[in-house]
Subunit: 323 residues, 2 copies
């Protein structure tokens, strides 16, 4: 169900009557968090507002080509007469940015887990990205979409749909993308920067993981060790997105990666095809996620953790817990 | 420049007045070849024509979910009063299907190398896919787009733009995709089948290639041996599309794969960033392609060929032949 027009009008009214506005997105930001932050923030500036855009973790490198990204701060300074939060399902997701600040005026999000923490909650779980909600708000307001705002919003749309491939993509998604291109967003460039480009070190790390790939029935997994990371000089503690390649293997229903961490811990990521739910295992280990994508981090050596998790995950495939 | 309306009307007139129509696409078909073949073929059937759809190499597995794909034959039988060729720049690309047949009535293609081999040549190099040209023709005709035709045409659009990412994607591409979804094409499903799904054997082959990845300045390359293929039981003689991952490495301007073939031959694929032209090297070795993507196959051992090709390719990066 699209957002109620009355609610959108209320939000526009709050923005119109405010002068100093703080816009905040979630920690560990993805393309939709940054795209929504910049899209709303720059549009409010065009409307003559004083705007501070804040993300506690800063802007990731694949979004730094976006205009306004160098204006994003890690903490808020000064007083504001309106606080807007974008793409965050609850306030813990904004880090410590909003500590000792007044109530949030407007909450714009598309996550089904959103807890409606603001005065005005523009939460639309059918929107493919928070950027889509912001585009709808600006249309309702009648604000002109500048090329910088268009690029920011299209970044949100492209990244949250992984290049228009997720199952919630619909004709309006594509038409909104078309209209943002017409307003000056360079789709091929921002698509490439956020979804296609890989580092040399990341693909070498993939090589290490893929050469150890294992399969048992429709269960697929691999490991990444601390030695792998050192050998290929990969700077992160993550899997360089390898899990998403594993989830594309057509003969697997559940795929997993075990990533060795310092201090004797192992990070586990699961991906599952429709019909399977890996979130309960992750949650039982103190992690979280959705049915189709979940993660956890636990104490233990790589072989120990792998054996234990395979033991926990295998029964899912045997129909026992098929949802 | 979009196609001349008069030319489109002529093509529609030829189709309207024909009764038995042969539609042919190129050998080693990709998604746009099959999507265009089925899109045009099924639409002509809906218009009451007797239609034979032919591809000498059959339909690749990632397109077999498309309605009508089991009706595609490898050779044409009988007589026809109109021959249409889709997505082929010249007649050699259709294999032996058209040997001893009369002239081609209509040629529909978007390749800049098309040699206008038919009576009526609907060649539009600005179309992102031949499927786009066929959609335009059906609109001009006023033919209803059935769900099966929509799915076929959207397959062409999605595959030739690699998921809407190529630099020629424009707002009309996205709007056409939106309208094909509204006519019944399941974008997420066909996107996944043609662009996302990978086989277990293919990703293991990637593992072999990526663990041997080498770099010299902005030149990146790897090899795939016959032993690799055997070890991972990969059935093809190709690189399982690994070259496209290499071309996404942001620190490389030119990437290459050397794939060992039976009988002492080696297949080479090049990918280049804008500003570099690898097609001349490929052509000088009897291969072909574009500035950004080219290939060749030559005699020699893997180490010999690799050394020779590195010697030929390196100067491109030193500005000598930068275009």
């Amino acid at each position: 169900m699209p957002l109620d027009k009355g609610l959108l009008r209320q939000a526009v009214e709050r923005m119109r009557s405010a002068q100093r506005i703080l816009v905040v997105c979630h920690i560990r930001p993805d393309g939709d968090a940054i795209g929504s932050l910049l899209g709303l923030g720059l549009a409010l500036r065009s409307a003559g507002k004083q705007v501070e855009m804040v993300c506690e973790d800063g802007v990731p490198s694949d979004c730094r080509q976006l205009e306004g990204s160098s204006d994003v701060r890690r903490q808020a300074q000064g007083d504001f007469d309106l606080i807007c939060v974008v793409d965050a399902s609850d306030l813990t997701r904004t880090g410590s940015v909003l500590q000792d600040r007044g109530p949030v005026g407007i909450n714009m999000d598309h996550h089904p887990t959103n807890v409606n923490f603001a005065d005005i909650n523009l939460v639309d779980v059918q929107a493919v990205a928070t950027a889509e909600i912001i585009a709808g708000l600006l249309a309702q307001w009648g604000q002109e979409i500048t090329p910088a705002v268009a690029a920011a919003l299209l970044t949100g749309l492209v990244t949250d749909t992984i290049g228009f491939r997720t199952s919630n993509v619909n004709p309006s998604t594509l038409r909104l993308a078309a209209s943002l291109m017409e307003r000056g967003a360079n789709l091929p460039m921002l698509y490439r920067r956020t979804l296609v480009d890989r580092s040399f070190e990341a693909v070498r790390l993939w090589g290490a993981g893929l050469s150890r790939l294992e399969r048992d029935g429709r269960l697929l997994w691999t490991t990444l060790t601390l030695d792998d990371r050192k050998a290929v000089q990969y700077p992160g503690r993550d899997d360089a997105d390898l899990i998403n390649l594993l989830s594309a293997v057509d003969s697997a229903d559940i795929s997993m990666i075990f990533v060795e961490q310092p201090n004797g811990r192992v990070k586990i990521s699961w991906r599952a095809q429709p019909g399977f739910d890996v979130s309960t295992i992750a949650a039982s280990l103190g992690g979280g996620g959705h049915a189709a994508a979940a993660g956890a981090e636990i104490q233990g050596s790589l072989p120990e953790v792998q054996a234990a998790i395979l033991g926990l995950t295998r029964p899912l495939l045997n129909g026992g817990q098929r949802v």
